[in-house]
């Protein structure tokens, strides 16, 4: 079974140890991404999404970041046990990352073509000139005229810069693409274009993708699988259909309730009350319990395990309320 997965994260825990506090950013998560699958990792700011992504590349800044436990298998090899040389070979070639803000993700003093060519030259042992030619092809692939390879990043608009960033990431045809909020810094029309482009390229190149976002609309558009993260733990995961149409976790419900309803525009938004707990001082038991409308005393006693939703092979939820077979979220009274 294990070989079918491009990425297999087991029980990953990452802490940031500073002088004042020990911040528990990621607390034992398991994620698998199959070949040619796209997983959306959803959660609010500070839930540990980016830390998870950086762990996959073994790029968690150390100090203060410490990977406490876990194994991250990339096509069967544990990233956390790789030597520096192996890591350099893996980064960019097997896994590539798209960063959040295209404005700062490009080096202002290098031409765009050189920047795309750089990773090609390293991973495919090409001369600078051949790499530049390939860089031009990549630019064309993301819909930018080849002649612009000689331009500097400041001569591009935000959407075009993100296309360039995508071209850099895809230059070596990696198996796995990590996109860390790739559209957050872009306006909505450009967002749609960039997402469409990414979807199309991933299909063409038969890659897998880990899409990190807090935008449920983006997930719905692009992802096949969804994992919802809260305070460093995964609270619910499943296929997009499982999570969007048959949500089980109160937090997931809260996320959807806080979206505007297009059909009934007059309706008030229902925010989730309270704030995310301080990750350096997590409550015992379920981290969502203090904000959860369904919480009982039992919730703050033990951390709920991810368990399969009855009969489903894909849909998992971590909520102790389901020990009571009668329990269902108010939003879907039919019990699904």
């Amino acid at each position: 079974m294990a070989e079918e997965f491009v990425l297999d994260i087991k029980n990953l825990a990452v802490h940031y140890e500073t002088e004042d506090a020990d911040v528990h950013a990621v607390n034992g998560i398991d994620i698998v991404i199959g070949k040619k699958r796209t997983l959306g990792l959803v959660g609010e700011t500070g839930a540990g999404k980016t830390t998870t992504a950086l762990s996959i590349l073994n790029l968690v800044p150390n100090p203060p970041g410490v990977i406490k436990s876990g194994e991250i298998y990339l096509e069967g090899k544990d990233v956390l046990k790789m030597t520096p040389t192996e890591l350099e070979k893996m980064r960019g070639n097997d896994v590539a990352m798209i960063f959040q803000d295209p404005m700062t993700a490009l080096n202002p003093v290098m031409t765009v073509g050189d920047q795309i060519g750089e990773s090609i030259a390293i991973h495919q042992n090409l001369s600078k000139k051949d790499a530049f030619e390939k860089a031009k092809e990549m630019l064309k692939m993301v819909g930018i005229a080849e002649s612009r390879a000689y331009d500097y990043p400041h001569q591009f608009s935000g959407g075009m810069k993100q296309r360039v960033v995508i071209a850099i990431a895809l230059a070596c045809s990696p198996q796995l693409l990590i996109a860390d909020e790739p559209t957050t810094a872009l306006d909505v029309t450009i967002q749609a274009q960039v997402l469409e482009l990414m979807k199309q390229l991933i299909r063409e190149k038969e890659m897998s993708m880990l899409l990190i976002t807090h935008d449920l609309g983006v997930v719905a558009e692009v992802c096949e699988d969804v994992a919802v993260m809260y305070a460093g733990r995964i609270v619910e995961k499943g296929t997009a259909d499982d999570v969007f149409n048959h949500m089980r976790h109160p937090y997931t419900e809260g996320l959807f309730d806080s979206l505007p309803n297009l059909k009934e525009r007059g309706e008030e938004l229902v925010p989730i009350k309270g704030l995310m707990p301080d990750p350096s001082d997590l409550p015992p038991g379920c981290a969502f319990a203090p904000r959860c409308p369904y919480a009982t005393e039992a919730c703050s006693q033990a951390v709920p395990e991810l368990t399969a939703v009855d009969g489903s092979k894909t849909h998992f939820v971590a909520c102790s309320a389901y020990r009571n077979p009668e329990f269902s979220l108010r939003g879907n009274k039919d019990g699904r």
Partner: protein
């Protein structure tokens, strides 16, 4: 599909160099400084052709000693009857070579130290920077005097001595810039692309620190020329009879009442050169600062 070609023509492409030059040309002071420096460099380069070193520069002629500036000797003559014009022009070679040489030497050493300190931080940073702080706390001239007296007076040793203080200035500037650039997202993204660390420093971090370095180079050349002259003035710089400007000043000191031109002219030479370098440095700083773009 003729469209891409037209698009290409819409853009006026300028490299960073062209962009900086365009803005530098608009700065009158900087152009004045640059003009003076170009003249000086030309004069220094051509001086072996214009003058015969043995005859015109160091050859003594007692009949013509201490002549005030006149048609035959534009800058007058010194106490051994040597033509001051030839000596000042020839002296530009020493000042420029020492200035540029020690700054470049200091640049290489300082950049290596500063980038290591700034990039790695922590213990590396503490060790390198505290060492440099110690050097900084001793007056430049003192350090230079000690080094020259250890190595013996010669042009090369003078350069090495002055390079020490240049290196510490460069190390500080490079460290500060590297520390800000190190945390930029494009550096993180080059890690994610699998670039080795040294390549990230050389190709992504240092080129982005270039503008403060360029400015510092021009300003430091000026300071170094003054330091070199001071050392020669004190008699531990370029050995006599070489016409270093500081040495010329020193020689004129005894005649400051009867032949003041012997001090004034080399003094002016030093002053104008340093002024030109500072004007150019200020102009470059403005031209390289993207926030001042008009």
């Amino acid at each position: 599909m003729a469209q891409p070609k037209e698009i290409k023509n819409q853009y006026k492409k300028r490299t960073l160099f062209q962009e900086t030059w365009r803005r530098l040309v608009k700065n009158r002071g900087a152009m004045l400084g640059l003009g003076f420096l170009v003249l000086l460099i030309l004069a220094a380069a051509l001086s072996p052709v214009l003058f015969n070193y043995e005859v015109d520069v160091i050859g003594q002629n007692m009949q013509e000693r201490l002549m005030a500036p006149c048609g035959a000797h534009w800058f007058g003559t010194d106490e051994y009857g040597r033509d001051l014009f030839a000596r000042v022009i020839y002296g530009a070679r020493y000042s420029l070579i020492i200035g540029v040489g020690s700054v470049l030497l200091g640049l290489v050493v300082g950049t290596i130290l500063g980038s290591q300190a700034g990039f790695h931080g922590g213990v590396t940073d503490s060790i390198i920077m505290r060492g440099i702080d110690i050097f900084y706390s001793i007056p430049n001239i003192m350090t230079a005097v000690v080094i020259v007296s250890l190595l013996g007076p010669s042009t090369v040793n003078l350069m090495i001595a002055l390079a020490f203080s240049c290196a510490s200035s460069f190390a500080r500037i490079v460290r500060a810039s590297v520390m800000t650039i190190r945390d930029q997202e494009y550096v993180e993204s080059s890690y994610a692309m699998g670039l080795p660390t040294w390549k990230i420093i050389v190709k992504h971090i240092l080129p982005n620190c270039l503008s403060p370095i360029i400015v510092q180079i021009t300003l430091l050349i000026g300071t170094t020329i003054i330091s070199a002259s001071s050392l020669s003035f004190l008699g531990i710089g370029v050995p006599a009879p070489a016409p270093e400007w500081g040495a010329l000043l020193s020689a004129g000191r005894g005649h400051i009442r009867d032949a003041s031109y012997m001090c004034i002219i080399p003094g002016l030479a030093i002053m104008f050169t340093v002024l030109a370098l500072n004007l150019l440095g200020d102009g470059l700083r403005d031209a390289l600062d993207p926030k001042l773009k008009k």
